[in-house]
Symmetry: C2
DNA sequence: GTATTATTGAAAAGAGTTTTCATTATCAAT
DNA sequence: ATTGATAATGAAAACTCTTTTCAATAATAC
């Protein structure tokens, strides 16, 4: 994902944002992470690279990146304050309940279901959320997962 | 939904809970609502029926009802602090983006998709969330929905 | 009725997020 | 390169939502 770092910075610039060290650090962390992160996690990781990074800047940058569609919030059992790089395609999330690893997949075809629901309920469906939870290959192998 | 009020109270009693006015009010409000509610909304509505109801009691009752599987938290764009009566069957949610009206539906068959994803990703899938958003018939008719 | 103990509401504490504000740093125009 | 306009920053304060604490009260079993 690291190769997208510069792309994101340019997209930010195109939106009128300045390219600052703080933003670079935050962008890099998000692009490097295999799982969705809380603002505080981004902050902690960021502090290791930029000594006096502010938590407020993390919040502001996440907000801007979400606005630009580069990251998305991830909902899960514990809340909905996790941020993950978004993909452009029409894809859905698959999340490991053990390590949090997030993977995108596509290939769902829910159009038949949609049509069926429109017919029976009268709702005009505009959006759908599909999210899967499970155990990733690495966690399955490690055997640490007892609640699989 | 009002006919379930007594059922819920009995289920609470079976769990060792006492039947108090505060709980009755909260249970009734949840069962009467066509949409998922925030704790504060339950509290406001509850105060109209029980003058000195405490917000804390609302939180505690919602927690207990969720524990018993009678209500569930609903995730949406703005957060995940909405509570809605749950259904027993394996159903999914359909929510009106305009008025919030929630409806359950069943009939999805995602097993083929699951099998496909298990094969390609190696994830052992344990759970899936499917939630649809759209405009309900009433809101469509009222014509108030411009962003349909 | 009485004793036991779950439940209550108010207040305080806590966690997470947003706002305010003076200072600093980026970028565009020289 | 220098300068000026202003976006961005970090610290502190404010704010919202939720949980904990605690003494008083009320529901249930006997």
């Amino acid at each position: 994902m690291a190769q997208y770092s510069e792309t994101w910075m340019k997209l930010l610039a195109a939106d009128g944002c300045r390219q600052t060290p703080a933003r670079r650090v935050i962008v890099d962390i998000l692009l490097e992470s295999p799982r969705a992160l809380e603002p505080m996690e981004v902050f902690s990781a960021g502090r290791e690279r930029l000594a006096n990074l502010g938590l407020v800047t993390v919040y502001r940058t996440l907000e801007k990146l979400e606005e630009l569609g580069l990251v998305q919030r991830v909902h899960h059992h514990g809340g909905c304050n996790l941020y993950l790089r978004a993909t452009n395609a029409h894809e859905h999330l698959l999340i490991c309940s053990h390590c949090g690893k997030a993977e995108y997949f596509s290939g769902d075809n829910l159009s038949a279901l949609m049509a069926d629901i429109t017919r029976t309920t009268g709702f005009a469906i505009t959006e759908h959320w599909l999210q899967l939870f499970g155990t990733c290959p690495a966690c399955t192998r490690s055997g640490e997962v007892i609640h699989a």
